[in-house]
Amino acid sequence: MSSTDAEGYIAQEPDYLGAGHTVRSWLLTTDHKRIGILYLVTLLFFFLIGGAAATFIRLELATPPGDLVTADTYNRLFTLHGVIMVWFFLVPAVPSTLGNFLLPLAIGARDMAFPKLNLLSWYINLVGGLLALAALLLGGVDTGWTFYTPYSSLYSNSYVTLAALGVFIAGFSTIATGLNFIVTVHTQRCEGLTWMRLPLFVWALYATSMVIVLATPALAVALAMVVMERVFALGLFDPAQGGDPILFQHIFWFYSHPAVYIMILPGFGVVTEVLTCFSRRKVFGYEAMVFAILGIALFGFFVWGHHMFVSGQSAYASLIFSLLSFLIAIPSAIKVFNWSATLYGGHITFEASMLYALGFIGLFTLGGLTGLFLASVPIDVHMHDTYFVTAHFHYIMVGGMVSAFFAGLHFWWPKITGRMYSELWARLAALLMFLGFNFTFFPQFILGYMGMPRRYHSYPDEFEMWNVLSSAGAVILAVAYLMPFVYLGLSVYRGRRAGDNPWQARGLEWQTASPPPRENFGPLPVVTREPYDYHRSDEEPSAREGDLDFPNRSDTETR
């Protein structure tokens, strides 16, 4: 425990890592920073499992016949890949790790509003993950991550119930985290931190939480209905009893389309922080960025039907969903253009996290544009459920989101561990990831246009060439993903001390020690200036060295 003296300064406090070394001190912690680390460990574990499944999938598809694994095994592999990656990696990736660690720091708070709930949500996530893993160890699930009825409810002989329960439970973990974030942002902002002074990372987490809280229950109820159909033989979607499998798709996508924004919105926030810091520039069009984030979060709820253009949904409904899907391109485009414009007139340096962020913009642009193809009804009719769709959402989820995750991880690594990693290796990994990613997934656009359906264990010979390329790219990508594990891992033991603010960034989280003390701040900061004040509004942006005499964003009066 820390002791606070009369002036509010915390005397000689160990940082949060040194606040206790027992396993118990970690497993029963209510410190948001430690919970962030707990999440990081579990998420990386799931990322490795999901990645291993992806490797097997690409190996199998390197040749046209199904020769490496059986069809049943293949179906279980891609389901495993989807379920683990979506619900146990992508959805919680940035919010639960970086968000948990940084949100209170970025708003000048001592902790989340509900620290115990925060810890509880990690345990709930763990229980959900273990159930899903149990389903995998017992023999796997073969429904695909979408759990479409009636296959999942009446025909599949795999462990659907267990896996669905795992996802159901993990859903409550994300709801708890989202709820915690919202209340924290509302009640814990430090003095002077008005809404329009919030960093965009915080805005992004706030919007994400909103989507999490209001969309996840739809998934919960859809899965609960599938489980009830399987276990109690209630024919909720059973055509023999008059049930409609398309209704399941409506409820499922009411969650799962907003879920795409749950995954990508935090990435937007991370990239904004990184871009402004390394271009030493105020973010271009702060208000527009805020409204774009909120607009995407809101509109994300109105477009789910574009997943159902060929399902037998009515043509009128399809047109409405198509229009709404085209409209959501507007806020997304605003973000891309504003990021590009942020570079204008800056003092740009190319640290590893900046490379990841720039890569993110490129890949997200491509992913977003191909989204327009799928928003259009006649084009989607040909592209639906082909590799075009696979490529499209991997550009958003992997090219976009995972790049952003790595950008954030590298950006805040010195803050989290207090150590610097090898910049050279990090830049190399960033470049390799960008190349490997495009190598893997660009050929899949072509495969999709040629008509190769997804979830195929074997395929006709005419698709061979592009599949071979894609599999070759996957090898590069796998190496690129493993590299950070090595150099980041080594940095914890060997890295040089980072100092409080190695990037001379302006966020509040950089105004405390690295790693931060248990209480985050000595006296709580008081914000007197706009966010991203890398230069005064009437001043030219200045290079990094010149920043040092720049007045601090907050003064250090005692509250």
């Binding site: 709820l179 919202i182 209340v183 809280v213 209001l214 109690f232 033989a233 024919g235 049930g243 409609d244």
Partner: protein, 208 residues
């Protein structure tokens, strides 16, 4: 007495409103959760009106009315608990909680009796002796079981929390006077009640 103020708050009023905001956000997500079930019910009702009507005749209206009365009463006792809790009246609070607990348990007991009768009448979708031979009747009962089942699950969770709260208030294990604990439990319980207020006409009345 336990400490009312928890990290990271410095102000009990702010902490209380944070707790209330938290439960309201959770209730908002519950609205969407039950909304999915209501959507399914509505879509099929529109498609299979005869089946729904014929099947509804098989539900036990008397027990439905009894349960509605029980749950409305429990909602009132819960609200009473919150009010007296705010005044700091320990005995009245415990009494209110126990009354809510008793009424809620009675609801589940009546529901159990109703389930027993339903099963005896083979009102189970897909059962070979399902008594109503109109398309859609089984779908109605699928939703009957799913909706009352999930509602019952929410009740059971609520009763568990209330039972713990009785103990905690009586032994002063929590700072129930200062924190929003009772209000939070009350809001959850009232939402469960609101869900039933819609379930009752949909499962027992409309189109009977």
């Amino acid at each position: 007495m336990p400490e009312a103020l928890h990290e990271p708050f410095h102000d009990i009023g702010k902490q209380r409103s944070a707790e209330e905001a938290g439960i309201w956000i959770f209730l908002a997500s519950e609205v969407i959760f039950f909304g999915g079930l209501f959507l399914g019910y509505a879509v099929y009702r529109l498609r299979l009106p005869e089946g729904y009507g014929a099947a509804m005749a098989e539900t036990n209206l008397t027990l439905g009315i009894v349960n509605t009365a029980l749950l409305l009463a429990s909602s009132a006792t819960m609200a009473f608990t919150v009010w007296v809790g705010r005044e700091g009246l320990q005995r009245a609070t415990v009494t209110g909680l126990i009354a809510t607990l008793a009424l809620g348990t009675a609801f589940l007991a009546v529901k159990g009796v109703e389930y027993y009768e339903d099963i005896r009448h083979h009102l189970i979708p897909g059962h070979p002796d399902f008594p109503v031979d109109v398309p859609g009747a089984e779908m109605f009962f699928s939703f009957y079981w799913a909706m009352t089942g999930l509602h019952g699950l929410h009740m059971a969770i609520g009763l568990g929390i209330i039972a713990w709260t009785v103990h905690a208030v009586r032994s002063d294990r929590i700072a129930w006077r200062e924190t929003a604990h009772l209000h939070v439990v009350g809001l959850y319980w009232n939402l469960v009640d609101v869900v039933w207020i819609f379930l009752f006409p949909l499962l027992y009345l409309v189109g009977r």
